[in-house]
């Protein structure tokens, strides 16, 4: 490398609250989402969902449906080639089992795909569903994970060799993990105290306000175009190419504006269906989920049961930690291994100790499909661990804050578990090279008034404070990578093309800031094109908190390469060395007072030197530096009704350099809102027959403006040496801590522990009642 960006130069673009690049068009309601513009001649698709939780589809007769005027085509399993794959949008080779085909001959949950119909109007398509005659052989349904584990007479995936199923065809286990550092069993014997508790985590749904929606058509060259609300356009293209037997070059995936994803769109939920029907009918096809379909057929956070066992000494030293996870992946194994892996890997390192044991049994059931959801396993693990630390403190009679302070991870610490647990394979050792955790704890305590419980506002209320610490990652070390192309125009403006997917979090904006900073130009001079597989370079997509850190690294490299090209051009003209050329504030300067605006230099490059300053760079990180959060809740609990009133919530978050402080705050505030729901009222309730009881927003409650407490959000900047301009990730870490902080506060207020969230009024009431008896 010839030279770095001038380290001494003050940053002007990174760290500035620029106007989010797409904000105005969104605020004006312009037609920028997938469903806002329809191609001419478009057909409307609907999916016939299984009424049974587990059944063989013996026969499908679409005669009556096809006779309905306006119905164009109906497809079911017998007509479609069955190529096993996973719908999880992960890097190849996916660590999720290839246990899916486009239309399965055996349905495995209520709502599973039986047939797909396309018609001239949505109404006709809906009506046609009722006219498809299906004969099923109903099979026993396993909706309880312990039963699924115990039984081998009923197998949800009995196929002989679907790739990657842990115990393919012999049991219902979708994934197992058993990793140990040291020897926990032996270590526990020498501890002064061993504390063991069990925690239960609910099934919750991402509930992005824009449902899954995709539209496909054939372009004038007969290539398949899929416009879709996705987080993973490139993974999608790869999977589609394989299962539809097309060349990747014959598929174009376009990601327009996306109305939220949160992991739920890191999955091929429907794109294969529209593509299939477009290929069959040669016409544009559109499919959108209703909210009911979202809550039944999209993905949910894995429900888990976690048994935590901790060995401690009287002085509060944590000697050994064991986490045993039983998880429900539902009908298919999307992210089964990796979400559960994260439950331990992203969480247990918070309290380093010599002996760590992490075990997972993840089961297939005939429940809705679990998958990726912001936090990706960590919210479950963090809930268990952070509640457990409070329990340990109680057993020891120690202060829960001091116990955390004594044991939490510090600068320079290594995280031995990460080495054992990569993305489905051996991982990489993680060393903490930046941390603001101590500062976050300090500032958070100050903001909430730790140690000074406020007065309750009514006699039947009790007040309490709770806290939780959290860490996550920044991309998947050694796996996640992205590329970016930077192209300078003749007036000094820049086109930045990235495969990274902006799904509302603002990554286009942040990447433009990084590009501008590196080139020494203004953010306002950068235009971003994101995620069109024809036009932008590859990126794994928006997940695992990777975009700023990993894709940002690619942008920085590409911009640096362009800067080097420009330096060479300027040096040639000025007859100096490239190291004498300096960039900054829209200016390029050389020795002896020589200076050009970027526009002059660009014009010189294109018309005199006759070169296009342009570069594409790829960036992989072999590290995944953790962002940290310390979060605090102040609650009041009604001792008689069990209602919990969350009064204040404090988050202090270290995400490295906040490239756009307001967007980072927005990430934190939004994550907290989701996690308040996780802690207090969100749950997709599935009955013993496998039916979702509350598949609508009338009854599946997500936080409204009236559910939010007073929010205090504090950024604790650090400089991460491996990140672009010192940045780490911010999108996921703040979703981990709120639920345990709230539950710890409930315990502080009324002295009872809630082991199962959400902490609904009835659950809290029951615990209080039982404690009183």
């Amino acid at each position: 490398m010839t030279h770095d960006r001038q380290q001494d130069a003050p940053r002007t673009e990174v760290g500035r609250n620029v106007t989010k690049i797409d904000a105005f068009k969104l605020a004006r309601g312009e037609p920028v989402f997938t469903d806002d513009i329809h191609p001419p001649g478009m057909l409307w698709a609907k999916v016939l969902g299984s009424p049974h939780a587990h059944a063989r589809v013996l026969e499908v007769d679409a005669t009556r449906a096809l006779a309905l005027p306006g119905v164009v085509d109906v497809a079911w399993h017998a007509q479609v080639k069955a190529i096993p794959h996973t719908r999880a949008g992960q890097s190849h080779p996916e660590p999720s089992p290839w246990d899916t085909v486009i239309l399965p001959p055996k349905v495995r949950f209520i709502g599973d795909r039986v047939a797909v119909v396309v018609a001239e109007t949505l109404e006709v398509a809906e009506r046609a569903l009722g006219l498809i005659d299906v004969r099923y052989e109903v099979l026993p349904a396993l909706t309880d994970m312990d039963e699924a584990l115990a039984r081998t007479d009923v197998l949800i995936h009995e196929d002989p060799d679907p790739r990657g199923i842990a115990e393919g065809g012999r049991t219902n286990v979708a994934a197992r993990i058993d990793k140990q550092v040291g020897d926990v069993e032996a270590a526990l014997k020498s501890c002064d105290h061993v504390v063991e508790r069990t925690y239960w985590l609910p099934r919750v749904q991402a509930s992005h306000i824009e449902p899954h929606v995709a539209i496909s058509w054939l372009d004038e060259d007969g290539r398949l175009v899929v416009k879709t609300s996705t987080q993973v356009p490139f993974h999608l293209r790869r999977i589609l190419a394989r299962i539809l037997e097309l060349k990747e070059a014959d598929i174009r995936v376009i990601k327009p504006r996306v109305g939220g994803g949160f992991g739920d769109k890191q999955e091929m939920v429907m794109e294969d269906l529209v593509a299939l029907m477009t290929l069959r009918t040669r016409r544009p096809v559109r499919l959108e989920f209703t909210r009911e379909e979202e809550l039944i057929c999209a993905r949910v956070r894995h429900p888990q049961r976690i048994v935590m066992t901790t060995g401690v000494m009287n002085d509060g030293t944590i000697v050994a930690n064991r986490m045993r996870v039983t998880a429900d992946t539902g009908a298919y194994g999307s992210h089964a291994l990796t979400v559960q892996g994260n439950t331990g890997q992203k969480v247990l390192p918070m309290y380093p100790c010599a002996h760590i044991h992490f075990q997972v049994t993840c089961l297939y059931t005939n429940n809705p499909i679990s998958g990726a959801f912001r936090g990706y396993g960590a919210p479950q693990g963090c809930f268990a661990l952070e509640c457990h630390i409070d329990e340990v403190a109680k057993v020891l009679g120690h202060d829960r804050l001091e116990l955390r302070r004594k044991n939490h991870i510090r600068l320079g610490d290594t995280d031995p578990l990460s080495a054992k647990l990569g993305e489905g394979k051996e991982g990489l050792v993680r060393v903490i090279r930046s941390t603001g955790l101590e500062k976050a704890i300090e500032l958070g305590c100050e903001a909430i008034g730790w140690g000074q419980r406020q007065e309750p506002t009514a006699p039947h209320l009790s007040r309490g404070l709770g806290m939780a610490l959290a860490m996550q990652g920044s991309g998947i070390a050694g796996v996640d990578w992205g590329a970016a192309t930077v192209k300078l125009n003749e007036d000094g403006s820049v086109n930045l093309a990235v495969g990274a997917t902006d799904i509302g979090q603002g990554s286009d904006t942040v990447l433009a800031q990084i590009c501008a900073e590196e080139l020494g130009i203004r953010y306002e001079d950068v235009r971003v094109l994101s995620s069109d597989t024809d036009l932008t370079p590859f990126d794994v997509g928006a997940y695992a908190s990777s975009t700023t850190y990993v894709s940002g690294g690619a942008v920085q490299k590409a911009a640096r390469a362009v800067r080097e090209q420009l330096a060479a051009i300027a040096a040639g003209r000025w007859e100096c060395t490239t190291t004498d050329v300096r960039f900054g504030e829209g200016q390029v300067s050389g020795p002896g007072g020589k200076a050009w605006t970027m526009a002059e230099l660009a014009s010189h490059a294109l018309y005199q030197a006759k070169v296009q300053p342009m570069a594409t760079a790829s960036h992989l990180s072999n590290e995944s530096p953790p962002p940290f959060a310390a979060q605090f809740a102040d609650v009041e609990v009604d001792r008689e009704t069990g209602e919990v009133f969350l009064r204040r919530f404090v988050s202090a978050v270290d995400c490295g350099t906040p490239v756009h402080p307001d967007l980072v705050l927005g990430q934190i505030e939004g994550a907290v809102a989701q996690a308040i729901g996780y802690g207090l009222f969100e749950e997709v309730i599935v009955d013993a027959a496998g039916r979702v009881r509350n598949p609508n927003f009338l009854d599946y409650k997500i936080a409204s403006a009236l559910d939010m407490p007073e929010m205090i959000t504090i950024l604790v900047p650090t400089e991460e040496p491996s990140g672009p301009f010192g940045a780490k990730a911010a999108g996921e870490v703040p979703i981990d801590g709120p639920a345990p902080a709230i539950v710890n506060a409930i315990c502080d207020a009324v002295g009872v522990r809630i082991y199962r969230i959400p902490a609904t009024p009835e659950r809290v009431w029951r615990q209080i009642k039982e404690a009183g008896e």
């Binding site: 605020a27 312009e30 806002d36 449902p211 109305g259 403006a705 929010m711």
Partner: protein, 166 residues
């Protein structure tokens, strides 16, 4: 069935199915600022004004528009109050994915227009009440509420002109 209505300040005629929702017809007409989020009246992505009142157009019959006034975000594009709200929402980084933004803006517009007429200034709780029907999964409502509060503080100076004021 045929309907005659005032759409964004101008007379309009629609031909729609008797059971169609207002949202379905608006989107068919190319007015796509109102979004489909739940179709059960819960999320507010589809909020528009019917005779100046905020409604969830997914649970209102299109036929209700016959003889009435329907105003969508598009129809308020030149309204000074709406523009201030849009600017404030953008400046406060209250737009993340933006899917909820049109609905939120219509609700906030309705609140602030009424406050301006009454000469009152809504507090935090009144703003949250007004947004109670607009679910946002991205922002946690902090920045949208701050944006509305900022506009509320300067309300008296914003002229009452535009589609809805007429």
């Amino acid at each position: 069935m045929r309907m005659d209505l005032t759409l964004n300040g101008r007379p309009a005629q629609w031909e729609a199915a008797p059971g169609a929702t207002l949202l379905a017809v608006l989107r068919d007409e190319g007015l796509v600022a109102a979004k489909r989020g739940c179709e059960t009246g819960d999320c507010g992505a589809c909020t528009v004004l019917l005779d100046g009142q905020p409604v969830n157009s997914c649970v209102v019959a299109a036929a209700r528009a016959h003889g009435h006034r329907v105003t969508t975000l598009e129809g308020l594009a030149d309204d000074p109050l709406m523009r201030r709200l849009q600017d404030a929402l953008v400046e406060h980084a209250g737009v993340q994915c933006g899917y909820c933004s049109p609905g939120m803006l219509v609700s906030l517009y309705h609140l602030l227009r009424a406050c301006r007429a009454e000469g009152t200034r809504p507090g935090d709780h009144a703003i949250r009440e007004a947004l109670s029907g607009n679910l946002c999964r991205c922002t946690g409502y902090v920045k949208p509420v701050a944006a509305a509060a900022a506009v509320a503080a300067a309300l008296a100076g914003i002229p009452a002109t535009g589609t809805e004021a007429r």
